[in-house]
C-alpha cells in the first residue's frame, strides 16, 4: 500500500486543489511500480493552510474555461478536447514545486522496494503520443521477467521488447489494417483513436539502450529493430551499479532520432520508476500475515 501526506503553508484556492493534485500525481506517484499490485488502500492527501501567506495574498488558483475539467477522463466523445485552464505565474511555479516534490517522494518508495537491489528509471520516447510511451513504460515496469533479469544483472533486452509488444492498447501496422477498421475494429479500442495514431509502435523502428548512472556513454542494445553487438563486459559494468536507466525510443518516421542541435526529436516522453525482483521479495511476501 502506498500512503502519502503532503502539507504546505501556501494559500491555495480550495476548488483548484483537486485539479492540481490530479495533474501532479500522474507523473509522480502514478508513475512508480514495485510489484505491479495496486493496493486497496492507496491514498495521497494534500493540505494547504495558507499560514505563511501574507494577509492580503490571493490564493493560488486556476481559471477553468471548461466547466468540468475532469470530464475528459470520463468522456467517450472523441471530439472533446481538454481545454487547459489559465494559471498565474505563481500557480505555475507552485505546480512545478509540487510536481518535483511528489516525484522525489515517490522515488523514495521505489528505493525501498521489498528485496530490491536496483533503482530503475524507464524512459520511453514516442513519436506518436505520451499515452503510447506510458503504456510501454508501464508494461516494462510490470514485467516479472524484466525485473528478474535486472536482479540477475542480465542485459536481457529481449524481455523489454516483449513487454512492450504485449502492452495493453499497443498496436502496430502489422496488427490492424484499414480494411479491418471498416469492419468496426476501432470499437475495440473503446476510445476512437484517429487512424494515424493506431499504429503506435513499429517493431522495426524500436530502439533500446541502457544509460549508465555514472553519466558514461549510452549502451545501445537494439537500434531500429536491429540487435547490436553488445559489449557484454560493458553491460555487466553498467548492471553492477544500483541505478540504471532503460531508454526506449518508439519511432514512426525515418528521421534522425537526435536533431542537429543535439536534442531528441521525439517530444512525447513517459518516465516510470521501478526496481528489480529478488529472492528476498518472495521471502518477505510468502510470509506476510504473521
Amino acid at each position: 500500500t502506498l500512503l502519502a501526506i503532503v502539507c504546505t503553508d501556501a494559500k491555495i484556492d480550495s476548488e483548484s486543489m483537486p485539479f492540481l493534485l490530479q495533474k501532479t500525481v500522474v507523473d509522480s506517484f502514478n508513475s512508480i511500480s514495485i510489484d505491479g499490485d495496486t493496493s486497496t488502500n492507496d491514498t495521497l492527501a494534500f493540505f494547504a493552510n495558507g499560514a505563511a501567506a501574507p494577509a492580503d495574498a490571493k490564493p493560488l488558483s486556476y481559471t477553468f474555461k471548461d466547466p468540468n475539467p475532469f470530464q475528459q477522463y470520463k468522456s467517450r466523445n472523441p471530439d472533446r478536447r481538454f481545454v487547459r485552464p489559465d494559471m498565474s505565474p505563481d500557480m505555475a511555479t507552485f505546480e512545478q514545486v509540487l510536481s518535483d516534490f511528489l516525484k522525489d517522494l515517490a522515488k523514495l518508495v521505489v528505493r525501498d522496494g521489498e528485496g530490491a537491489t536496483k533503482f530503475v528509471t524507464i524512459r520511453v520516447r514516442s513519436d506518436v503520443s505520451k499515452v503510447t510511451a506510458k503504456r510501454a513504460a508501464v508494461s516494462i515496469a510490470r514485467s516479472a521477467l524484466v525485473k528478474t533479469a535486472l536482479y540477475g544483472k542480465d542485459a536481457n533486452w529481449g524481455r523489454i521488447l516483449c513487454a512492450i509488444g504485449y502492452a495493453p492498447g499497443i498496436m502496430s501496422s502489422q496488427t490492424i489494417s484499414r480494411k479491418d477498421l471498416t469492419k468496426g475494429m476501432m470499437i475495440r479500442t473503446k476510445t476512437k483513436i484517429p487512424y494515424d495514431k493506431l499504429h503506435q509502435v513499429e517493431p522495426a523502428m524500436t530502439s533500446v539502450s541502457f544509460i549508465p548512472a555514472d553519466g558514461s556513454e549510452e549502451l545501445k542494445l537494439l537500434v531500429r529493430g536491429e540487435p547490436q553487438d553488445v559489449d557484454e563486459v560493458r553491460a555487466k559494468e553498467i548492471l553492477e551499479m544500483e541505478d540504471l536507466e532503460i531508454l526506449v525510443r518508439l519511432e514512426d518516421r525515418d528521421e534522425p532520432a537526435i536533431n542537429d542541435d543535439g536534442k531528441e526529436r521525439m517530444t512525447h516522453e513517459a518516465v516510470f520508476w521501478t526496481c528489480d525482483f529478488s529472492h528476498e521479495y518472495v521471502t518477505i511476501n510468502g510470509d506476510y500475515r504473521t
Partner: protein
Amino acid sequence: ADRTIPAAKQKYVPTSGTYPKGFLAGSAFAGVKASNTKYDDLALVVSEEPCPATAVFTQNIFKAAPVQVSQQLLRKSPSQGFRGVVVNSGCANAVTGVEGREHAEIMARTTDGAFNNGENQESPSTLVMSTGVIGQKLPIEKITSAIPKLKSNIGNTHEHWLNAANAICTTDTFPKLISRQFTLPSSPGTTYSIAGMTKGAGMIHPNMA
C-alpha cells in the same frame, strides 16, 4: 521485527527539516498488530486551523474502509474545513464489511473529538488512512484508546514529523520524509514550506484518482 535502518538507506533519512507553519505531526503506540509491542503505529498530521484539503485514491474496486470514508468526507465538504489525517499501520481495514466502515468513521470522529473538546461535528474533519494486512478487522478499542496519547505527542519539530513518518511504515526499511522551502514570483520575500511523508515497499503500483 528489528527496525534498524540499513546502512545503505541512512542517506535517505533527513536529519533536519523545515516544516510548514501551522501543521503539527506526531505518533503514538496502539498495538494494532499483535506482534508489534514497541513501535508507534498511529500517526497524526493536523493543521492548527481548519484548511482546504484534497486527496486521490486507489482505483482498485475493492476500496478499503478508510478510503471509502475519506472519499465520502471530501464529497460532503469539498475541499474546505479539514483538520488533518489520522493513520494506523498494522491493519489495512480493507474488505472488512460494514463494521470496517464504522471503525474508520470512529477513528475520524474520535480524532475530531480530541481536537474539538469532545464536541461532535456534523461531519468529521479528519481523513483516515490505514495500511497492513487486508481482510482483518481493526482493534478499534486499542486505536481509540491511543488517540488521546497521540494528541499529546504532536508538535512541529523534525523529530515529531519523523516519528509520524516512522509510525505509518509497514515493511519499509526507512521512514520517507522530505521538506523544502520555496518562493513565488509575486512575493520573493515570502518563504513557503512544503513537507510530506510517504510509505510503501510492497503492493505498490498506484493508479490514484
